[in-house]
């Protein structure tokens, strides 16, 4: 790439990040007139219909956008910040912090450690104690590890008005004025793995990739392209390969990914490099997931087996 074309791509605005223009003073933080802790969801919904008002989650991302608005709507009392696990699913309250998600034993076990891997690089513990799962999912940010990870699972979002919607569909929906209540992960049989490339260990990913190996399909969620994550499902040619031929399978899928993925350039990397990474990370993630799959004894139906052994420390 020539120097001038490299420079030009910075100007195209295809950063993928919804961040303010460069020259704007970023140092002045958030400006709001009123802070309102709502008592009912309906109250929150009503307030949120006004253009001047905003729902605040952890606020770490919002704060970077130099937002000025009238009322900050705090959902703490009406939206859950807890993770509920039952036989079929995990119900993750939208106000749950990334750190609580990272440290949840059931999720850790179910995702073969992939969720923790997707979260542990995000800035630092103090940051993840503030940022919420709902904030990350609602934002549908290009750089989002969280969205990338959850798209690889059988995930739904519960919206106050919109009801239950698959995350894949939600990720493509335009921003509206609804309220995100829960993120629901169905405990379908699958093995998961997460891979990302970062310029420094706690930076945004240059590219992120979550792999999901299921009985009848294999899919990848690829994020930080730098646009938001998309799902790529292994095509018939790949699926015809015997999965016990792990390397062959993974290589074939990597070829498919490199051919299909749409990538762009931003400050962190060029499109060409991202395409290369997509192939590498896809292969590695699928390999990891296939290995995890192989080691699983059987289809899990009993939730007891999902529990981590007592005393195992995951955070």
């Amino acid at each position: 790439m020539t120097k001038s074309s490299r420079r030009k791509r910075f100007l195209t605005g295809e950063n993928g990040f919804r961040l303010p223009p460069m020259v704007k003073r970023r140092e002045k933080l958030i400006k709001i007139k009123r802070y309102w802790k709502v008592e009912t969801l309906e109250e929150a919904y009503e307030l949120n219909q006004k253009r001047a008002n905003r729902i605040i989650g952890g606020m770490v991302w919002m704060k970077m956008g130099e937002k000025q608005f009238h009322t900050a709507i705090d959902l703490s009392d009406v939206v859950s910040s807890e993770i509920v696990e039952n036989e079929e699913e995990f119900i993750i309250g939208a106000m749950t912090t990334l750190r609580d998600l990272e440290c949840h034993e059931g999720i850790h076990k179910y995702t073969d450690g992939a969720v923790k891997e997707s979260l542990r690089h995000i800035v630092g513990v103090q940051f993840r104690n503030v940022a919420t799962v709902g904030g990350s999912i609602w934002g549908r940010f290009g750089f989002s590890d969280v969205l990338t990870m959850f798209l690889a699972m059988d995930t739904y979002v519960d919206l106050y008005k919109g009801g239950r919607v698959s995350l894949e569909a939600f990720s493509k929906m335009p921003y509206d004025k609804d309220i995100l209540l829960n993120i629901v992960v169905k405990k379908n049989t699958m093995s998961l793995a997460y891979e990302s490339m970062r310029n420094t260990k706690t930076d945004f990913p240059v590219l992120a990739c979550a792999a999901s190996v299921r009985p009848d399909e294999v899919l990848l969620s690829i994020g930080a392209r730098p646009q938001k994550a998309v799902i790529i499902r292994a095509n018939d040619t790949v699926m015809k390969i015997d999965r016990s031929e792990q390397e062959e399978f993974a290589r074939a899928l990597a070829v498919q990914v490199k051919a299909e993925i749409s990538v762009g350039s931003n400050m962190r990397a060029s499109a060409e490099y991202r395409r290369q990474l997509a192939g590498v990370l896809a292969r590695r993630a699928v390999m990891k997931a296939l290995v995890a799959d192989e080691q699983k004894p059987m289809v899990i139906t009993d939730t007891d087996t999902l529990q981590t052994k007592g005393g195992e420390q995951i955070c």
Binding site: K8, F10, E27, M64, N199, T200, T202, M267, Y273, Q276
Partner: protein
């Protein structure tokens, strides 16, 4: 000379004592500028130019001034029209006088357009938004490679001036230009069997100290401007502010509290002028706290340099000639431009002791990007990256181990260094550093590469480095030591402790000299009204220069106490001796007077002040030396580099406080690692710096640095305090060239431009394959 025997007898010197301010810092006491600034201070902010080059045609401030709480809004029409430099250097500064506090011509994105002060931040923000500026946008000069003699002039103004003979010419965009050399380098290189000729490029890295630039100002009862600033150069601040405000120096007093890091950034007067002019005009206390954004886009980073190197060796591996040309980008203003560039040659070339000829030419050019300044290493970092990389390439060309090539050619103790002002190396353990580093790294086994089972490849690389110890014949360090009642001493310093621990180090030297407990030395940091003059804490000068001043002062004070004590004992001064506790009769130690009694006696009916001020300046600047070796592991598919191990062996003479020299070294290495691998500087075509936050400018975290191992090979520098040289800057110089070579050994890819990102490696390998 081996140091161990000499230093083993010291009680406070060469000891890892705790810093005197340590417990205040770890318990979070309110000791920094913004902790002690008056709550009544006006908040000062600056409106910044969105254009890289423009003329302000009209600027409307009326509606901004009307906002409740606004105390003043200042534009270029409200400031003195005499140009000055913000570079904290000894007068007459080599840096050109090219600044106004506010100018009608803005020269980079982020340049100051207007100053707003108000009683609260919200009002100030509102006022900033209300200022209307009409710009005549001009074409910016952004490419420093074409800046010299370009038709676009960054400083066309007639009142631009250069006080020193540095080859500056504003009508040619030249901030400095010169050449230096010995012998006929072209002929020597023509006769060399092996010659490497390459160009190297380093970026304008940010110092990024955790405490951004900040200053608090107020008028005292005498109507004088009091300036409390986070600065490395209090005395220079006084002069620069007087120049900027066009007022008498006698009107200004500068003091510095604890400082949250400097690394050279605070050797430039970045923030001080803004609250100073506000207080001077309004009479009200004011403070300016730079945001991180401002610290990134309008401050004083490292000079971007492009360095062309030719280096040649004969068939026996003797390096005979070095030819360097440095093009340095000083940006919109010339702070430290003429001086940093010199080190890029002198402190690289002088590492090699068998040269028959060398040439070093340079140009320093103005462009429409942020002005550069001083950053740890000060040009040596850039030059050493270039030359040490070139020497590594030379070794490769000769199929020779780069360690062997250095063993054969490095400068050694006793040699004259023609490229280092003809100074002789009176203390140099570089050879021992190299031997030890090689051992620690297990170099012979690891060189050049090792393929791992997981497909990754490991490689090792090496670099040597030197720096100076203060600026010879320029830097002045002074201290005042005073005997107080009960026999404790107060040590008044003009040198600025910016977290380095020099307050403690200088107290250690005083305690050693005066043979008293360290607690008996009360240290007082800088207040330009009362502290003795000191050039400031930069150029790796404090321990070496000011340390010697401490010794001089203590020796004089001891003499005074002996004279006084002898008089009290009815003896002549030749008959008495002094130890830490008393002055006694040498022939009859039972006959003595305690220091405590002397102190009380000196406070009663006495005509002698038990106080001494001493200054020190050095005709030489003895270099510390070091060797750095890196072991990296490269993921050839993603290009990711893991720095597995970094070994550094340093000769800084005597380590006055081994703990502090160690953390200085470790910290400098990590900053160097950041420069080598992570810290990118990117501009848009319009000249906006994009890495304007810690989100976009990635400092290495504790997860990014691998294992770092530091050892010392001490030499004894006779002109330094207790044999000490400097440590502060040299330690940032080796990582870039050592890591670049390690990456080369692992991948076969040469990187001559920093940082060496994963993308560059992965794409380079793809291209090769």
């Amino acid at each position: 000379m081996k140091q161990n025997d000499i230093t083993s007898n010291y009680k406070y010197v060469h000891q890892p004592v705790q810093k005197k301010d340590a417990m205040a810092l770890v318990t979070g006491q309110a000791v920094y500028v913004n902790d002690i600034a008056s709550k009544e201070s006006l908040i000062v902010k600056v409106l910044r130019s969105p254009h890289a080059h423009a003329l302000i045609q009209k600027i409307q401030t009326e509606s901004a001034k009307k906002i409740p709480g606004i105390a003043c809004v200042l534009t270029y029409e409200d400031v003195p029209q005499k140009r000055f430099t913000m570079a904290g250097q000894t007068y007459p500064e080599p840096s050109p006088y090219d600044r106004l506090i506010l100018d009608s011509r803005v020269r980079f994105v982020g340049d100051a357009v207007a100053i707003v002060a108000g009683s609260n931040e919200k009002a100030v923000d509102k006022a900033l938004a209300k200022i209307k500026v009409k710009y005549k946008v001009l074409e910016p000069l952004l490419d420093f490679r074409n800046a010299k003699d370009h038709t676009i002039l960054v400083h066309p103004e007639d009142n631009w001036r250069s006080l020193s003979q540095v080859g500056a010419d504003n009508k040619r965009n030249l901030c400095a230009s010169d050449s230096d050399g010995m012998g006929d380098v072209d002929e020597v290189l023509a006769n060399c069997k092996y010659v490497v000729e390459e160009t190297y490029h380093t970026l304008a890295n940010q110092q990024a100290m955790m405490e951004t630039f900040r200053t608090y100002t107020y008028l005292d009862a005498y109507g004088r401007l009091n300036v409390v600033s986070s600065t490395q150069v209090p005395f220079h601040v006084r002069r620069i502010l007087a120049n900027a405000l066009d007022i008498s120096k006698s009107k200004i007093r500068v003091s510095k509290p604890r400082i949250g890091g400097g690394f050279g950034a605070k050797q430039t007067v970045v923030a001080e002028v803004y609250p100073a002019i506000v207080t001077w005009i309004t009479g009200k206390p004011a403070k300016m706290l730079y945001s991180r954004y401002e610290s990134q886009i309008c401050s004083s980073p490292r000079h971007e340099m492009e360095i062309k190197v030719r280096v040649g060796a004969d068939e026996d591996g003797v390096i005979k000639g070095v030819d360097m040309y440095t093009l340095s980008n000083t940006g919109a203003f010339g702070e430290h431009g003429p001086t940093t560039v010199g080190l890029s040659g002198h402190k690289a070339i002088s590492l090699y002791g068998k040269l028959e000829a060398y040439r070093f030419d340079y140009d320093v050019v103005y462009t429409n990007v942020m002005s550069a300044g001083a950053y740890r290493g000060y040009g040596a970092t850039q030059g050493i990256f270039a030359l040490e990389s070139a020497v590594n390439e030379l070794a490769d060309k000769m199929h020779m181990d780069p360690v062997k090539l250095r063993e054969q050619n490095m400068v050694r103790e006793g040699q004259i260094m023609p490229s280092y002002y003809g100074e002789r190396t009176n203390s140099c353990a570089l050879d021992r550093c190299l031997t030890r580093a090689k051992e620690m790294m297990n170099w012979d086994e690891k060189f050049p590469r090792k393929k791992m089972e997981n497909g990754k490849v490991r490689g090792v690389g090496i670099a040597m480095a030197m720096q100076g110890s203060g600026i010879s014949n320029v830097d002045v360090g002074s201290v005042t030591i005073k005997l107080n009642d009960e026999g404790f001493y107060s040590l008044s310093l003009g040198a600025a402790d910016m977290g380095t621990g020099c307050d403690t180090i200088l107290a250690q030297i005083a305690a050693e000299e005066l043979e008293c407990p360290l607690e008996n030395i009360a240290v007082k940091g800088v207040d330009t009204d009362v502290s003795p003059y000191d050039s400031g804490s930069y150029a790796s000068s404090t321990t070496y220069i000011t340390g010697q001043a401490v010794i001089k002062a203590c020796v004089k004070l001891k003499n005074q106490m002996m004279e006084f004590g002898a008089d009290k004992l009815g003896l002549s001064v030749e008959q008495v001796s002094i130890d830490g506790k008393c002055v006694y009769n040498e022939d009859n130690p039972e006959e003595y007077i305690t220091i405590s009694d002397i102190s009380y006696a000196a406070e009663c009916g006495c005509n002698t002040a038990m106080q001494v001020t001493a200054s020190h300046s050095s005709p030489v600047s003895p270099p510390p030396y070091m060797v750095g070796m890196a072991e990296v592991e490269v993921d050839c598919e993603t290009g990711q580099v893991e720095l597995l191990d970094y070994v550094a062996v340093v000769d800084c003479g005597t380590t006055i406080n081994p703990n502090l020299t160690r953390v200085q070294t470790e910290g400098g290495l990590v900053q160097g690692i950041g420069m080598a691998l992570y810290e990118n500087i990117q501009y848009t075509e319009a000249g906006q710096m994009m890495n304007n936050s810690f989100m976009q400018y990635k400092l290495p975290t504790r997860q990014d640095i691998g294992k770092i191992r530091v050892e010392f090979e001490e030499s004894y520098e006779a002109t330094g305090p207790y044999g000490a040289k400097s440590i502060g800057e040299i330690v940032i110089n080796t990582p870039s060239p050592a890591i670049a070579d390690a990456v080369y050994r692992a991948t076969g890819l040469r990187f001559r431009e920093l940082p060496i990102t994963a993308e560059k490696i992965a794409m380079g390998l793809l291209e090769k394959a």
